[in-house]
Amino acid sequence: MNILNSLFRTKDKQLGVAERGRRYDLPLNKSAGTGFLILLVALMTFLAVMALGASFTLGEMAQRWASGLENRLTVEIPAEITGGALRSPSDIAYLSEKTAEALKADPAVETVEIMGEADVQALISPWLGEDLSFEGLPLPGLISVKMRIGTPEAIERLRHTLKGINQDIHLDAHESWLKDLLRLTGALKFAAAAITLIIALTTIAAIAGAVRSRMAEHKADVELLHLMGASDLYITRQFQRHALILALRGALAGTAAGGLALLLIGLSAGNGGDTGLLPNLHLGTKHVLTLILLPCAACLIASLAARFTVLRVLALMP
């Protein structure tokens, strides 16, 4: 008897809860395709996490390259004199010394280092092959320069100084390939942004389409609410809430999966070594912020898409 009593009491309570928790005048959550829509939002959010994650990582990489190379210059004293004749090693050594002194005198220069023969050989060997001997091979003189501030004017001034010493001396500010790299990462970041935009538009289209079909499905009920004097906002709220809950569920799942994927990629890529070329692929502040903001953005997009779709359809009613 007691068991029966408590059974009935829980049943009563459930009925009471169902009544108080009545969220919908329209049974939108029972519409066909709700599961599919949640899955779609989840996939879209996952893709957005990936695209934005890639974009931030690229940005970080480009910044590292830029800051690592910006203040470094290499001065080359070619082994060959313009015209074809070879420069003697002693000539190269003499020119290197002179050039180094001239560079040190410039206020923008921090350190100057003439690279030894061994260093130069080590730099060149990857291009020549291990088995080739350097015996008798004319090697250029290389000077590594670190600037205090690598402004274009300072670099131009150095070029001018060097030309005064010898026409052949070449200053490499790494500008051209750095520029190419930055252009490449810029393009990739743009692509990521475009993908994110497409994802947002796709989500809007999917939500708007779903809302339209649900309005058609519940046309009679929507009309009834309208005839009973329900304002457009009252009716809109029903659909907006539906879209919001649906988007939240999908976006949370998608973000969780995306975050996990980023983490795994970060782990498998290691910490980028000591080359300074690759950034640490751990989740940065921007990534974490994205993971938090994306579900909010998805909900906002979904509920606004639902709102405007419903208002447009309602405007056609008398």
């Binding site: 009925l15 009544e19 009545r22 005839l227 009973m228 004097g229 405007a315 008398p318």
Partner: protein, 232 residues
């Protein structure tokens, strides 16, 4: 309260279902709307609850022309009209309670007030034990009583009922007619479409008779007799 001037209505390219309808209903009046089946009673009702716009003519409701009204104003007017639809139009997935509560929720009334008012009215129409029942599982009479309860719960200024006693036995039909009478005494203007001669004779109210697309107003016989008796 309601004023129709030269109102005509046609569906699509069909013939005029209503033509040159002219009448005025004073606030607090009680009218029967009668006429043979297919005469246009439901169509005329739909014009009065702003379910559609007339193809021609002027409709004035609550002292304002609806032809020039904006959407929010139309909603506000609809909120003051209670309608019992001929085919009930209950929301099938909402319980009797939630169906009846709907107009109050649309008005944004507090949930506590809704609970007590709806419960009381459902008991009054004999559905106290079926609050959680869903419309598809109700009998025709139960649906009709739910629909009537929903139409009157928010104390409308105008009540339009389309054959509201068609599915009810005489006793409960009479009971609901007295509910309408009570509402009328509290100031609600009432129009009831019916072709039940018994009910019209029992409650002596003037009749709007629809025939061949036109409308004429008839004072009831006993009403006239009562007037004559009053004179002599």
């Amino acid at each position: 309260m309601i004023k129709f001037e030269h109102v005509g209505l046609r569906y699509g390219v069909g013939p005029e279902v209503l033509s040159d309808i002219d009448f005025t209903l004073e606030p607090g009046s009680f009218h029967f709307l009668t006429g043979p089946s297919g005469a246009g009673k439901t169509s005329l009702m739909s014009l009065m609850y702003l379910g559609r716009k007339p193809t021609r003519g002027l409709v004035t409701m609550f002292g304002r022309s609806i032809n020039k009204m904006e959407r929010p104003q139309l909603s506000a007017i609809r909120q003051r009209i209670g309608v019992v639809f001929q085919e009930f139009r209950l929301l099938p997935h909402l319980s009797a309670f939630d169906n009846v509560a709907l107009p109050l929720r649309i008005l944004g009334r507090p949930e506590k007030e809704i609970r007590s008012n709806v419960t009381e009215l459902l008991e009054w129409v004999g559905l106290g034990d079926h609050k959680m029942m869903l419309p598809p599982t109700m009998s025709g009479g139960q649906q009709q009583r739910t629909a009537i309860a929903r139409a009157v719960i928010a104390r409308p200024k105008l009540l339009l009922a389309d054959e509201p006693t068609g599915n009810l036995d005489d006793e409960i039909g009479f009971r609901l007619m007295t509910l309408f009478e009570q509402l009328n005494r509290m100031g609600t203007t009432i129009v009831i479409a019916t072709h039940s001669q018994t009910i019209m004779d029992q409650f002596g109210h003037p009749r709007l008779v629809l025939e061949h697309g036109g409308l004429r107003v008839e004072e009831p016989k006993n009403w006239i007799r009562r007037k004559i008796e009053g004179v002599f």
